[in-house]
């Protein structure tokens, strides 16, 4: 083996070693969470990479709690409502901001971007007052409202950028065919904006699904809580025991829908959907 081949081999080996290292660092916490979820509570603090006595007891335990099932239902309700409302408002707003020429369009866009810069804690007390005034305290409606407020700027920005990329002649062709703006949006733009909608919708869903601070602040009773809060408030046999194993089992359960959603929609997130619209 010449020295040139040797150095080439070393470079390749180094590269793959680095890849392996990055993968381990990224994946290990998740692996350990899954592993812990199958470990009986008594074995929790024995350091091992593979559960020697795997059990489903933790899963049985969390699913036997009514409040946890209720929390999952609440999370699904809140997250899907947020996605639906954010996309509906986002699409219509992006049409106005991306396609209609009006005075102050840039300022509106900048304000929208500015709003999304505020940290959640900064608006927490103000938002709390708003939600109480609207009589939405301890109600999924309050969470839907507050999550939508935080998701919408991002949704509008992404969809506006995407809307601007759609050829102007496409809209004009629709106008010549007698389409109203609403028909143009729903029949012409919407089918072309699937990739952007899948991306933003998915991110909105993840944000709403995982949100903790608002969910903790704006709900009071077990029946109104969402999953992240419910997991955090899982209690063990006594005040001195933190039930790690059931917490990990619950975390795995609520992560699975997200993974499934990403896998379903990743095929939608493909470019080239507008291919064939313009040019030869």
């Amino acid at each position: 083996m010449t020295s040139r081949q040797l150095s080439k081999f070393a470079a390749r080996a180094g590269f793959w070693l680095l890849v392996a290292l990055i993968v381990v660092i990224a994946v290990f916490p998740f692996y350990y969470a899954i592993k812990t979820s199958f470990t009986p509570s008594s074995d929790l603090f024995r350091v091992e990479l593979w559960p020697t006595r795997a059990t489903l007891a933790n899963y049985v335990q969390i699913f036997s709690q009514r409040s946890f099932l209720q929390a999952i239902f609440n999370s699904v309700l809140v997250a899907t409502s947020v996605v639906f409302i954010a996309l509906l408002l986002g699409i219509t707003a992006s049409y106005a901001l991306g396609r209609v020429r009006f005075r102050g369009r840039t300022s509106v866009l900048l304000i929208i971007l500015g709003v999304s810069m505020f940290p959640q804690v900064a608006v927490l007390s103000g938002l709390f007052e708003v939600i109480r005034a609207l009589n939405l305290y301890n109600n999924p409606g309050g969470l839907i409202l507050s999550y939508t407020i935080f998701t919408l700027p991002f949704t509008v920005w992404v969809l506006t950028t995407f809307m601007r990329q759609l050829p102007l002649e496409l809209e004009e062709a629709a106008i010549m065919d007698g389409a109203t703006p609403w028909v143009t949006i729903t029949k012409v733009f919407l089918p072309l904006m699937w990739p952007a909608m899948a991306t933003t919708g998915l991110l909105a869903f993840i944000a709403a699904w995982n949100e903790f601070l608002f969910a903790l602040t704006f709900t009071l009773t077990d029946s109104q809580r969402t999953v992240p809060v419910a997991i955090a408030l899982l209690s063990g046999g006594s005040a001195y025991e933190l039930p790690w194993a059931p917490i990990m089992a619950a975390s795995v359960v609520v992560t699975v829908p997200l993974v499934v959603l990403v896998i379903i929609f990743q095929r939608r997130i493909v470019s080239g959907l507008t291919a064939g619209a313009v040019k030869g």
Binding site: E172, G178, A179, G276
Partner: protein, 368 residues
């Protein structure tokens, strides 16, 4: 089918005045081509007729109806876009049916019309395809089909062939010409390509800087351009322009001198112009003859282009930068570096005044 009348149409975008007092009458079933350099306002004028832009001032009528305030769908116009702008997620059939469905046409009628349009444009095989599975020429035909399916009174084309390659362009040009003969509908066509304009039009409208320079049949524009701009724009290779002086004028014509040429007696009426006035002499390449010059007289040949059926001879001008062109039959004996004198055909010489307006032929000569 309908006529279109433009009466003092103006369009202002912010502080730019794009269309200036355009008057135009388009007859029923006519094929009218708007032609001009880029930025002359030809596309804007088409979009004003379509209703995609609002008219700042003036009156636009289709048929006998003033349509200034009507939205595009109520004007009864169909438009073919430069980039085709087909709906990429719909099949060819759905693309053509879209407008009809929006107009709440009965299902059977929609089917009937789409099929009839598809038959005319030979799209029957492609009805289930998506635009991305079509070739450039096929997309072009679908775009025309979509515009035609609603049976509009006027069909508008916005540079429809500029995305196609040269051979396909010639083929589609023919198809459009035959389509117009078969349908007999009023068509307005925008292009910057004067060959398309000459071959397709019943009537050409030459636009320059938002104004109509001249309206006329291809023959009229070629043989009797009203302005120097039209003379230079129509025809390929372009007309030669030479600075000239007026020597004298009478009832039957005038005498003109130009550097490097012998004195010419022309049929143009120059009675309104002073002796010695600067004029521009225009002569098309095919109306020039070359003869051998003596010594350092005449013009030097700087290039000879052999095109098979004809030859372009390029000559160094006495003044200015633009080379003079002579077009003759192939083969030719002229070689680069030879000196020649130009012999124009007086019947085909054009004269333009300082403002670019053509001098018309005297009454005495026009009759003869």
């Amino acid at each position: 089918m309908a006529s279109v009348t433009l009466d003092k149409i103006n369009k202002v975008f912010g502080s730019t005045h794009i269309i200036k007092d355009v008057d135009l009458a388009i007859g029923e079933g006519e094929f009218v081509v708007f032609v001009g350099p880029s930025g002359c306002g030809k596309s804007t004028l088409l979009r004003l007729i379509a209703g995609l832009e609002s008219i700042t001032d003036g009156e636009l009528s289709i048929g006998n109806q003033v349509v200034n305030e009507l939205p595009p769908r109520e004007r009864g116009v169909g438009m073919v876009f430069q980039s085709y702008a087909l709906y990429p997620h719909m099949t060819v059939y759905e693309n053509m049916a879209f407008g009809l469905k929006l107009a709440k046409t009965a299902k059977e009628t929609v089917h009937e019309r789409v099929m009839a349009t598809a038959r005319i444009l030979q799209l029957e095989e492609l009805l289930e395809r998506k635009p991305k599975a079509l070739s450039g020429g096929q997309r072009q035909r679908v775009a025309m089909g979509r515009a035609m399916a609603r049976e509009p009174r006027i069909l508008l084309f916005d540079e429809p062939l500029s995305n196609l390659d040269a051979s396909l362009r010639v083929q589609m040009r023919n198809e459009i010409a035959r389509l117009h003969k078969r349908l007999g509908s009023t068509m307005v066509y925008v292009t910057h390509d004067q060959v398309e304009a000459m071959t397709l039009a019943d009537k050409i409208v030459v636009l320059n800087g938002g104004r109509v320079e001249q309206v006329g049949s291809p023959q009229e524009l070629y043989q009797r351009p009203a302005t120097k701009f039209v003379a230079g724009f129509i025809g390929s290779p372009t007309m030669n322009f030479l600075p000239a002086r007026l020597i004298g004028a009478d009832a039957t014509g005038c005498r003109v001198g130009a550097t490097g040429l012998s004195e010419l007696t022309l049929p143009q009426d120059a009675s309104g112009h002073a002796q010695g006035e600067e004029l521009t002499l225009g002569i098309r390449p095919e109306h020039l003859r070359l003869t051998q010059a003596q010594g350092s007289e005449g013009f030097e040949i700087v290039n000879v282009e052999y095109l098979g059926n004809e030859v372009y001879v390029y000559l160094e001008p006495k003044e200015g930068e633009t080379l003079l062109i002579q077009r003759g039959e192939a083969p030719t004996a002229w070689r680069v570096g030879q000196r020649v004198t130009l012999v124009p055909d007086p019947e085909h010489v054009h004269l333009f005044d300082a403002g670019g307006q053509a001098l018309s032929v005297t009454a005495a000569r026009a009759v003869a």
